[in-house]
Symmetry: C2
Subunit: 349 residues, 2 copies
DNA sequence: ATTAAAAATGTGTTCGAACACATTTTTTAC
DNA sequence: GTAAAAAATGTGTTCGAACACATTTTTAAT
């Protein structure tokens, strides 16, 4: 079996099988209307020569414009989402040669109503696919179902929502990300008392935080045979500072904290100003304020959730499906990047 | 300026400018034989509408087969290179729709002669481009020059070689990677004595190791105002074990070691068997033996150099150039991934 | 003013897959 | 055995860019 220098075309297959290209086409696409004899001879050639269609030519002819609607929170409410916008722009740039129409729609991340409304709008646009950041679990289930009924493909990223109506999820294994944080704190803080801090977040992040906590605790129960030394703390504005200071006073053995949301900088600020002992801090996301405390040394590690790449892969997955007829994988898990002051810049482009 | 739903074609431009598509083509490709009047009216439309050629159609017509030769060490000598092979295979798969012929050529990483011979072979093949792992600095400079004289594009990865004949380098900032290791050890080992270990490597890695050491030392001199507590150790087979054990006995304050090559597992084995104090270990590369010690807890961190992605990006850079006529960037720096026992699996595909 | 040469412009074909449509062959019915 | 229906097969066009080639227009020369 020699490697062919020139790629086979439908015309070549037709010639080799002694039929016309139309017949080969019908065999390839299972359109029927082919005699058993022709079917066999074409298949014989196909098996022999393993033909691969030229995706470029296929796509050139196909003049359908695939429309993709992206539904994410408005970055002006939460700058966490800014990299997503850039990831989507990058995907648009990369695939501008193809017949794609990608439009982004923002919702207010603090309002389920806004989420529902924006999705109603998108539903009315009847796109071929939706890429969704399903911040609100219940509502997301609902809209996913509606899209699905209309034959619109629903892919998600950032938040995992279990539903048959959702084709793909791009994101991280949050349980494992809790374990990563645990391993880091385990090395840093000499097995003293540790705190998990769920900071200033509404129910919309409940699952997120729970999974991270579960991973964190499981790591320690596996490795130290006891998780009693871990304390969970829920802090909310405006009493964050007083409660945290009081907690640290009452628990002098706490040597490390794990903040499950992207607001670690708020804790870093308080600890940096009030505490004298060294307290290790681990948080999430490379937002500006966090990185400042990371470089300064107050925050020890940040876990990078790579929102830009999540959004980018969410789009490429759909493009691969529409343009290159690849099948959509159920989940796409991104690596859990550990970031310290010295490698942070590489993850912020 | 409204966003066009349908992309403009040459025909559209021709219609709008009141000329034929042939004339538009001549203007776009600066082929001359165009009157000033026609030139102006076409350009007026082009400026107005910002036309982008359909890369798919362009490529369909272009039936030149671009040949790329990849020159890397034989993975059977050093399994570090196995992921590179997979990265190249992935690139081949992804771009099989295009007119590409990518062939890999192996050399013996312990023999400069083999390196030179393989490159002579490739030179005789006269490919359009070469992707090179330039393990041997001087020899690489030489062959790059020869390729360049023949009009063959030379891209490199893994090792940085300064030369005008080399168009692109994909890899990591080794100085910064030394700093990453330093930051990690700084957090782990309570500012005791540290050791840098250059392990069992010939001159071919000299620059590599020096840069990492420089980054490592610079971090500490910046952050602690003294780098006297860092000791550099060069170990070679067969005396690794005796020398290391002796060193650790003579330096009881050493609490962390930084191994600048991929052979950290050799150190981990010795320390794991002979030492009773906790010594933090940081090394490079997710090879099987290293990961085993990472999971077991003897090695604390590994720095991932992502050889698979390096090779993959080396190819995509060339494909982008040949097929999509993008310009080649001088360097492509990959993030310096910090790996512990909990996130290792995500980097090993 | 006529013709040849030069310049400008337009037309037609190609790449490979997809599909509409035309043509041929086979089957069925009476 | 013949006509109509059904099945099978082949042909031609399209997508957009590139380029060879044909045609028209302009310029130069006598």
């Amino acid at each position: 079996m020699s490697v062919m220098d020139k790629k086979l075309t439908i015309k070549d297959i037709a010639r080799l099988a002694g039929v016309s290209k139309g017949t080969v086409d019908r065999v390839l696409h299972k359109r029927g209307k082919v005699s058993q004899k022709a079917f066999d001879s074409v298949n014989a050639v196909l098996n022999e020569m393993d033909y691969e269609p030229n995706l470029i030519a296929r796509n050139l002819k196909n003049n359908k414009i695939y429309s993709i609607s992206v539904v994410i929170p408005d970055p002006s409410f939460d700058s966490y989402w800014l990299p997503c916008v850039r990831g989507i722009e990058e995907a648009i740039r990369e695939f501008k040669a193809f017949n794609l129409s990608i439009k982004t729609h923002y919702f207010n991340p603090e309002s389920t109503k806004s989420f529902i409304n924006v999705n109603e709008t998108v539903l009315a646009l009847a796109p071929d696919a939706v890429l969704l950041a399903p911040l609100f679990y219940k509502e997301a289930l609902n809209v996913a179902e509606k899209y699905h009924e209309e034959g619109i493909i629903v892919n998600t990223f950032n938040n995992q929502v279990q539903s048959e109506a959702i084709k793909n999820f791009v994101g991280q294994d949050l349980y494992q990300s809790g374990r990563v944080a645990a391993r880091l704190l385990d090395l840093l803080s000499n097995n003293e008392q540790l705190a998990i801090i769920h900071l200033n977040e509404s129910y919309k992040n409940a699952v997120h935080m729970q999974e991270k906590e579960r991973g964190f605790r499981t790591y320690f129960s596996e490795n130290n045979g006891q998780d009693s030394k871990i304390i969970t703390l829920k802090l909310k504005n405006p009493s964050i500072e007083t409660n945290l200071v009081q907690f640290l006073e009452e628990n002098p053995n706490v040597t490390g904290v794990f903040i499950t949301t992207s607001k670690a900088y708020q804790i870093a600020k308080i600890i940096g100003e009030t505490e004298h002992r060294k307290i290790a801090i681990i948080g999430y996301d490379l937002i500006e304020e966090n990185v400042a405390y990371l470089k300064q040394g107050t925050i020890d590690f940040l876990i990078h959730q790579n929102p830009k790449r999540q959004a980018y892969l969410g789009i490429t997955c759909l493009v691969d499906h529409f343009i290159f007829s690849k099948e959509i994988p159920k989940t796409t898990l991104l690596p859990i990047d550990i970031v310290n002051s010295e490698n942070a810049s590489f993850y912020m482009e």
